[in-house]
């Protein structure tokens, strides 16, 4: 919760906090009151929004290092690639885009290029949708650039999709970023529930989706269990 508040504008309403962390409103409120008592959190008198409190300044800052995330997730990213037969990437939010911090080749021994360090659009990838869905402060006012004829360019349509992502616990994308390409991603949560990244598979649309252009349920299951395994590994 504190890490969420440390992000972006640093001002969040109760509903946003609860939605971002996957907590019930009542639970989130209870935690906020506790944090307020120890001055880790302050509430703005006028807007009622929450922000980090002064006491925290003395704690120093800590965050999940992207290289640490890769190191902790490497076993499960490998396993996801081996199970799914697809290429696997892990993305985190950086500067209004998805930064790829880990990449495992599709296990067919074809020539592939390591894509670590690449930046992907938030609104047009499964990774980005996951990151947007759990951080209400991210890039809401940004222009939604059209990349293909399937890219979601209407903010209202994107909000609906993000709501569905939160409800389902995973996101997908078909030809919204690149023609012929699709992807599935699920959230990686740090201890406490904060979404710190997304893990997913991507590739040719016929590999990722069924004949009705829907993500293959087996792949969705594999991506979700990999995301859970990485989240568990982060809490060890």
């Amino acid at each position: 919760m504190l890490r969420l508040l440390a992000r972006g504008s640093g001002q969040y309403g109760l509903a946003e906090i609860a939605a971002s962390l996957g907590l019930a409103k009542g639970t989130a409120h209870g935690i906020l009151r506790t944090l307020q008592r120890v001055e880790f959190v302050e509430q703005d008198q006028e807007s009622g929004r929450y922000r980090l409190g002064a006491a925290l300044l003395h704690l120093g800052s800590s965050y999940l290092d992207a290289n640490e995330l890769r190191s902790r997730s490497i076993n499960w990213a490998d396993t996801l690639a081996a199970r799914s037969g697809q290429e696997v990437r892990i993305g985190v939010h950086h500067d209004g885009a998805v930064l790829v911090v880990h990449h495992v080749f599709r296990p067919d021994d074809t020539m592939q290029t390591l894509g670590v360090g690449a930046m992907l659009p938030l609104h047009a990838t499964a990774f980005g949708k996951v990151l947007l869905a759990y951080d209400t402060n991210l890039a809401r006012d940004r222009e939604l650039t059209s990349l293909t004829r399937r890219t979601i360019v209407s903010p209202q349509a994107l909000e609906r999709v993000l709501g569905q992502v939160r409800a389902d616990g995973w996101a997908s994308e078909a030809e919204e970023c690149m023609p012929g390409e699709a992807g599935i991603a699920a959230p990686i949560r740090a201890p406490g529930g904060l979404v710190v990244g997304a893990i997913g598979v991507s590739g040719a649309v016929e590999r990722i989706c069924d004949s009705a252009s829907r993500p293959k349920p087996a792949l969705v299951g594999q991506v979700r269990s990999a995301a859970e395994a990485v989240s568990r590994a982060l809490s060890d």
Binding site: A66, N67, R70, N75, T79, A82, V104, F105, D109, Q112
Partner: protein, 505 residues
């Protein structure tokens, strides 16, 4: 019928892990616990064998719980371990006579110098394939016998047992003081300096040279063979393989053919090449060792370039200097700058291993100016691993007369992309990572699974190897050679630091 799995226990230098694999060699569960490192004096490194055993007792049930499977679904257990680390314990109580002396420990430096001065020392390498060095088990065991009151008598009476970590774990898993098996495998035995490389039995001349009572030594067995059945921790599991961690990694990378090579990046780093049925005597500072032995077959030999300090340099940077909070952050810190700023770190913490074998060398940081930041130091830490790799790869090339075309890597440090890129840059060949970074555990699982018929043959295992990542060289030749020259000069500065100084040949 319920799904069946193979279990591996990887008893490593800093932690012990238990991993379950399915038939497609995919990881199903991992449980891990670190153990303490004791540094009672400069150069001394000790571990508590009982603490390690307790960790095994916790992680094995934990891995089964995480995978939600029962012990009956485990068709075989393979054990792999940090090598050379020596432990001696009472056969009647199971209590170690002291802490285990770890492979990195250099307390035996004087003893080794004394032994090397004896005329018979010239024949040692011929028999065991190894140069006289603090690294191997025999000097450590001899030190324990000389420095533990009454131990030599107890050893000669047969009251105490010696083992490397494989032996310690198998003895405990199969009953301990009540009927535990006292065995080791041929790869671990090949690291003691006490086994004859050709006959693969304890060598009477070597035992007499090091003055070690034969009664305390375990029985030498093939790497992949049914050793016994567990009666403790999780009773009823078939122990079907044991092999040293680097040998397991060679097996896990499916380097089954002559000439196939891998490098594993862990606490130290180890380049091993399969040399098949040929026992190659190195002229370039490499070790001759046993690659592995399948039950009922002759041994497969290997050549090894051992680097003592790579991952442990990152740990030192984290724990002793406190410049990073976690090991992976070394990459973040290193990326705050674009080069080493002229700074080099040579981590000769345990002397220098291959290809130099200078026990008296000690570490240094050179090239310091007021320009140097912690970011440059972090670069120098990662580059130290890359240049040390270059040195052993060069030795391997000199040995064979053929340059390598790619390097297969594994181990925890392969998660560090800057390091992997730097290795590709300094070697000027692509660096390839397979889909299972936990190749040590996978190799132990493969050996155990083969022994019980879970996997039919080596060819089937090969088909499980898939490329997960590839780094291509980017540096230009002039920069590479200039940097290599600087590194070599830095290495030379470390020689002869610890007294008594050794005459340089």
């Amino acid at each position: 019928m319920a799904q069946r799995y193979v279990m591996a226990i990887d008893q490593g230098t800093t932690s012990t892990r238990c991993i379950l694999f399915d038939q497609s060699a995919r990881l199903v569960a991992v449980a891990q616990r670190e153990h303490r490192q004791h540094h009672p004096r400069p150069g001394w490194v000790e571990q508590d064998a009982v603490e390690i055993w307790r960790n095994v007792d916790r992680i094995v049930p934990q891995a089964l719980r995480d995978a939600a499977i029962s012990a009956e679904q485990v068709v075989a257990l393979g054990i792999t371990n940090q090598r050379e680390t020596a432990v001696v314990w009472d056969r009647n109580t199971g209590v170690p006579v002291g802490r285990a002396i770890v492979w990195e420990d250099i307390r035996t430096e004087e003893l080794v110098t004394e032994l090397a001065a004896r005329p018979e020392s010239s024949g040692i390498r011929e028999r065991c394939g190894l140069p006289l060095a603090t690294y191997f088990s025999a000097p450590k065991l001899r030190w324990l016998l000389d420095n533990t009151p009454g131990l030599r008598d107890r050893a000669e009476r047969g009251d105490v047992l010696f083992g490397t970590m494989d032996t310690w774990l198998i003895w405990n898993l199969t009953g301990g003081a009540s009927g535990g098996l006292h065995v080791t495998d041929v790869t671990n035995a090949s690291r003691t300096m006490l086994m004859n490389l050709i006959t693969q039995v304890w060598d009477a001349e070597l035992l007499s040279f090091f003055d070690i009572p034969a009664r305390m030594l375990p029985e030498i067995r093939p790497s992949a063979e049914i050793h016994g059945v567990t009666s403790r921790v999780v009773p009823g599991v078939t122990i079907a393989a044991a092999l040293g961690d680097q040998h397991a990694a060679l097996f896990g990378q499916t380097c089954f053919a002559k000439g196939e090579t891998k490098c594993t990046y862990g606490t130290g780093s180890f380049l091993l090449m399969n040399t098949g049925d040929t026992l190659v005597k190195s002229e370039h500072g490499l070790l001759t060792t046993i690659g592995y032995q399948l039950g009922g077959e002759p041994v497969t030999y290997a050549l090894e370039g051992s680097i003592a300090v790579t991952g442990s340099l990152v740990q030192w940077f984290r724990d002793k200097l406190g410049l990073i909070q976690s090991a992976p952050e070394i990459e973040t810190l290193a990326r705050t700058v674009t080069d080493n700023g002229g700074c080099y770190i040579v981590p000769a913490f345990s002397g220098l291993f291959a290809p130099h074998w200078h026990s008296e060398a000690r570490g240094l940081i050179v090239g310091l100016t007021s320009y140097i930041t912690k970011g440059h130091l972090a670069r120098a830490v990662l580059e130290a691993t890359a240049w040390q790799t270059r040195e052993v790869v060069d030795a391997m090339t000199a040995e064979l007369g053929v340059p390598s075309t790619a390097l297969k890597v594994d181990g925890g440090m392969t998660a560090d992309h800057l390091l992997m890129q730097t290795i590709a840059d300094v070697l000027d060949v692509p660096v390839l990572r397979p889909m299972v970074a936990e190749t040590v555990s996978l190799g132990a699982a493969y050996a155990a699974g083969l022994a019980v018929g879970y996997w039919p043959d080596l060819e089937g295992l090969r088909r499980n190897w898939h490329l997960a990542a590839r780094w291509n060289p980017q540096w230009n030749a002039a920069d590479r050679e200039a940097e290599y020259d600087n590194w070599k000069r830095a290495v030379e500065l470390t020689f002869g630091w610890a007294k008594p100084k050794r005459a340089r040949p």
